[in-house]
Structure formats: C-alpha cells, structure tokens
Amino acid sequence: SGSFNFGAFHTLDNLYNAIDLIVADYKSVVSKQQIGTSYEGRPIYVLKFSTGADRPGIWIDAGIHSREWVTQATALWTAHQLAFDYGKDTSVTSLLNKYDVFLLVVTNPDGYAYSHTANRMWRKTRSIKSGSRCVGVDPNRNWNAGFGGPGASADPCSDSYRGPSAESEVEVKTVANFIRSHGKIKGFVSIHSYSQLLLFPYGYKCTNPAHYTELNTVGKAAASALSALYGTQYTVGTICSTIYQASGGSIDWTYDIGIKYSFAFELRDTGRYGFLLPATQILPTAQETWLGIKKILEHVRDNPY
C-alpha cells in the first residue's frame, strides 16, 4: 500500500503488521504461515512465496541473533522486493515459477522484543533453564551439527551458550521441523550481521565440504554482485577458515542433511557501528544484499539436484 517505511527500525508488532500488509498487497504470490510459537508465546511467521503446487523450496531466515536489527529490516525489504518483482523481473519470475521461497523475517521474536524493550545488546533466546540464574541460549549454537563441540559455550551465562541439548530451543526446533517435514528444501540462506562475510559449511569442523569448489564459486559470484552496487567488500569462505570454529550452527546442519546450497550472510558493517548500524543504511544494505541473494537463488534454480 506504500505506507510502510522500510528505511526505519521497527518494533516486532510493526514488523508483523508490515508482513500482513505485504500479504494483503500481493495475495496471489505471498501467504503467511505460523510455523510455531516462541518460548514466550509469540507467533513465528514465515512468508511463503509460491505460484504453484508441489514445488521444491528455498529457505531464507534472518535475525536469529536478535540485536542484529539490520538483518530483520533487510529481510522485510527483501520480502517486499520478491513479491513486487514477480511478473516484472525475469529472474524472480522464473525462480518463483519453479521454486517456493520461504522467508522468516524474525527468527528469534522473543529476543527481538527484548532487545527493543529491555536490553539493546540481547543476542540469545529468552528460555529459562532450571538451576541457572542466566537466561537464554545462543540459537546458532543449538542446531544438531557437531553440537557441544568447539566454538560454543557450556556456560549458561555466556552469550554463546549452546543450550542443554541440540534443538532445545523451540525457535530452532520449529525451523528444523519445518525443513525436515517439507523434505524438498534445496537452498538455505541465513542472514546475520555484521562483518561482511559470505560463509558456507563447515563451522563445527575445519574440513572443506564435498562441494567446496562449487559453493566457493557461487559465494564469490554473489559477493561480486553485491559489491557492484556500493562497493561493499565481502570475504567468502567456510566458517572455520574465515572466522573461527563454531559448532551447532544452522547451515552446517542443513548441509549435512543434504541441502547443498547452504549459505550465511554477515551484513554491514566493518568498524564503525557494529550492531548499531544507523537506519539510513538499511535500504543500501538491503538493496546490495538482495543482489547477492539473487545470485544464489538463480544458481539453485539453474542447478537442480
């Protein structure tokens, strides 16, 4: 309807209202599904972009670490762009004529709400564990991929606490269940911020994945497309070789269950604002990221497996 300001940060309620507006504006392409409920009872909504039945799917999620506000903002802008481009942009149109796209704008709604109301620096979920005075689990250390290995903490007070068991967090289990039950997800993109990286498996171990060459080529093409708009430079590589060993991450899990095209973006910036990117950078960040995401989506579309 044109009334929503994509260039501003918003509360969870506002984001959820915006999701409804996108669904209302583009009914023929987008629908909203509640795939679960967060620990504190908030709905977890995924947007389904679909133009036909029984299609393979591509998954995109954002904001698993709640304080990374530019990622949720980027995902919302991306949702609108994907819907808007269908029927106008040949690349998006041919993609959605073959694949469904599932977009989770707010992966960790409790954390997002908490970062808006109580602690701007909150990163984890808000689950309470008996016997601990500390709250929450790092949801990107909670997937069933090398769970409990290096690069995740066993200390419930740590910001990278892995949780008591893999998929102990309902926000993680909800997505994992959705991916498992769908059965035909062929691409998985997780959006984080910051530090300008495009990563692929593995993180829980420091060996290259079987499809290293292809993933590296696709990643470099995506980073190159992204940088064409504003010159933003990305580093591309495996999680372990590019940053550090980290166990229990989502894209390791998806890769190991057979989703070959598993990537994670770390959006802007490097060295000025960190997690507190000014709102004026939302639109440029979203626009450039979209070019990178599109490259990956096109590769998935053109290389069925």
Partner: protein, 97 residues
C-alpha cells in the same frame, strides 16, 4: 531497561597469533563482562569488544601493556542507542501523523 552509559566498543588488531592468544586469555576473564562482537580467532579479522565502563581501564591497560593496537570504535554506546531510539520514535510519530 539496561543502560550502557560510558561503555565503549574497542576495535583491537592482533598482529600475531601470540597476541591473538592474549586476546583469548582476555576473553576467559569472565568477571570483566566483556561482550565480544567479533571473536578473537583470526589475526586477519579485527576483534571488536564491548566493554562495561567499570572494566574499561583494566582492559586498556592490559592491551597497552601487551603492545596490542586498538582504536575506539564507539565512544559511548548509550549515546548511539539514544539516537537510535529518538529516530525510531520520530519515525513512528511521523507515520501516525
């Protein structure tokens, strides 16, 4: 609501694996309550760390004693958070109007 008055974010550049090891030692000092925005793992990637006001002097002394270069990335975190909040409120008022 938690406030961050006087908290700084430092950007630390470890020029060798040895200095990276010193930053990892710093990470293990949990009483300092440091929040590593980027982890000390790879000398090619700078380490950004949010430091509570009461730990600021100790951390800077540690870095200077060990000849580890750093710059102040965010001078006072609360100032940025306040600006962000004001901007959000302004946008909401504008949308309501």
């Amino acid at each position: 609501e938690k406030t961050f008055v006087g908290e700084q974010v430092l950007r630390i550049k470890a020029s060798s694996n040895e200095k990276m090891g010193l930053l990892q030692d710093l990470q293990s000092l949990t009483h300092l309550q440091l929040d590593f925005w980027t982890e000390p793992a790879n000398p090619n990637i700078p380490v950004d760390v949010r430091i509570p006001f009461r730990s600021l002097q100790s951390v800077k002394a540690y870095l200077e004693y060990n000849n580890i270069d750093y710059t102040i990335m965010i001078e006072d975190l609360q100032v940025i958070i306040n600006n962000e909040k004001e901007e959000m409120e302004f946008n909401e008022r504008k949308e309501r109007n």
